[in-house]
Subunit: 426 residues, 2 copies
Amino acid sequence: MSIVVQKFGGTSVATPERIAHVAQRIVNRKRAGDQVVAVVSAMGKTTDSLIELARSVNPNPPAREMDTLLSTGEMVSMYVVAMAVNALGEEAISLSGRQIGLVTDAAHGNASIREIHADRITKALSEGRIVIVAGFQGIDGAGDITTLGRGGSDTTAVAIAAGINADVCEIYTDVNGVYTADPRIVPLAQKIDVISYEEMLEMAAAGAGVLHKRCVEFARNFGVVIHCRSSFNDEPGTLVKKMSEDMEKAIVSGVAHDMSEARVTIHDLPDNTGIAANVFGAMADAHLAVDMIIQNSSREGCADISFTTPKADLARTREVIERVAHELGASNVEILKQVAKVSIVGAGMKVNSGVAAKMFRTLANAGISITMISTSDIRTSVVIPADRAEEAVRVLHTAFGLDGSAVFEETQLSAEELEAKAKKGR
Amino acid sequence: MSIVVQKFGGTSVATPERIAHVAQRIVNRKRAGDQVVAVVSAMGKTTDSLIELARSVNPNPPAREMDTLLSTGEMVSMYVVAMAVNALGEEAISLSGRQIGLVTDAAHGNASIREIHADRITKALSEGRIVIVAGFQGIDGAGDITTLGRGGSDTTAVAIAAGINADVCEIYTDVNGVYTADPRIVPLAQKIDVISYEEMLEMAAAGAGVLHKRCVEFARNFGVVIHCRSSFNDEPGTLVKKMSEDMEKAIVSGVAHDMSEARVTIHDLPDNTGIAANVFGAMADAHLAVDMIIQNSSREGCADISFTTPKADLARTREVIERVAHELGASNVEILKQVAKVSIVGAGMKVNSGVAAKMFRTLANAGISITMISTSDIRTSVVIPADRAEEAVRVLHTAFGLDGSAVFEETQLSAEELEAKAKKGR
């Protein structure tokens, strides 16, 4: 008997039919002899609709009230999934963020989990019940409802898995798992059977959107095994877990790309000490995110600073950067939206030199120019023109030996074998 | 300064625009110097959608879980109305059924209010806040959420008005008040300025749908003055209150009609003692409602029993009655759906004889046949063919002197004058 946390996102519970399907999956797992906790998101686009509704009556809704409003979305999902489980003849108990004692800080709209009191969950499980939990929500020290922000329901599921010492935390999405590259771009992309936390974090940061960085970090910190799989079939997906050394054989595990960022360059900054601190201090003060950064000397006594930043916040970024550029005496600011970030990720890079060089050479051979480079010990990212992104992903995928033999190659391991492997590896 | 409870139904909060309008109305009242509690229903058709959603995943959702699910509808309304009030610069506090200590029995789906602990409301009002309350919901002795069934939000509002000793409970709907007849049928129908609880109860029972019988009964029991008015304009509506003798001058206050019932006749029941008890005992056991009842002898030793009952439950009624008829040895059961109930209501009937006779004569002169009659001391109802209902309402409206001089005659009293009158009359 295993203890399993299953998390179902908004797409998986978007309609009564899909809820019935999710309920059947939960019940099947229970009847196979496991103890099951299911964490659910709000149905479909409920959260977006509630945000829109609130803003249409109050352009600046108070964050505390907004969280209370948004929390109803997951409550509805939870009640309905519990009813659907009951309809199948199993006893379900639904528990809100408050009821599972998921305590967060008071950062309404983007709260961080501080602790979880899993007693009610473990008690209900030991009584033979299926536990349905509302994701994305908690309470702060004052007892007010908070929400966890992006990736919040995934993080709820991982936190519960840690709290009840679950064998695996299954995150259900609309894709089959984590791929060596986006299958829409690379037809020969393969599903990755097992990946380390570190690689998954780099993949997430590099734009592979299946799992949110935050929930992977949480899982790594508490040693929770994540099984990322599809809610539309029974195929095993991708296990994210601590890897033993012998499993780190692939030099490059995947190629990720991200079209959501723009490149900002400040030209001819007088090269005084601390200019980078001034520029990025101003960005931080405005709560604007910065990804890759490079600084290089241009004409004498001056420097250029380039960085990438989400296009979504570009209007505010432009405002901040033009002000800072003026204050620091720079010549001009250049903003380029037609850029892509392409990254290769692999734990094997640590011990294999020449991986980055091979990446640059592959792109050069394809005639693709690189305008920025950034590296970590298991990732190398480059910024290239947006219209060459798909080609870049394909040539890199081939160059690093990731192409499979079939469009969607089936894994050779069953879900049980994958999990057995996972348990052994913990 | 008055203490005012305002109740806004689903139609009044169906869209962000209407919510903004409701918020403005609440704030205007506060700024005029009053203490305001607003009770809100779920937005538009939310409750129906939630019921449909639940049933689509579980044909027999547990009543306790259903109530918890449904209660989210009013919660969303409450949070959003509170945000809209905050946007106008006033401080609103939202309180759920649980938070106002509205305790009910455990009859999930149709709970009755047992008590209300209004301390949090009165405290918030004394601090200068506007209180927004989720209607339709309470908690039972075990702390589980209950819902109040049909008319539940109106009843919540009246219960709060009783609990905080409010000067008036304003019930906002999409019509201007209570009319002497349905204005869609009788163009000369007039809005009634003031009506007694008893007359309003009879009007509600006779099919005038503006106020639910239950909330009027509650108001009568606790002496709460109801002001039934439109959320789409500022016109005064209809005051429902205890009437002093001198105000009971109108013989007939209104003509109501109800097309929602069918007539069921059991022919040739062997006339033993207790046949009516057997028939209506069976209906009661099946929780089926019965309105008008007549019993008369037919051929020797036998009786016919006729009654009216909601068409909505006709399939189950047919099942019960055909079984009972068979058991009791009746000849056959006749069910007639094309019938209408038309009623005249007026406190003046008590002291004026001949009112019923005038009603029957008026209908006879119009060639309208009557198949059932029932009376109370302030109401006379008849069952007639459905296709003559509108004509019957019109000729009775004229015969009892209710026709006004204009299609929608404006009242001569302002809202303030009406309320002053109301306070005086308490």
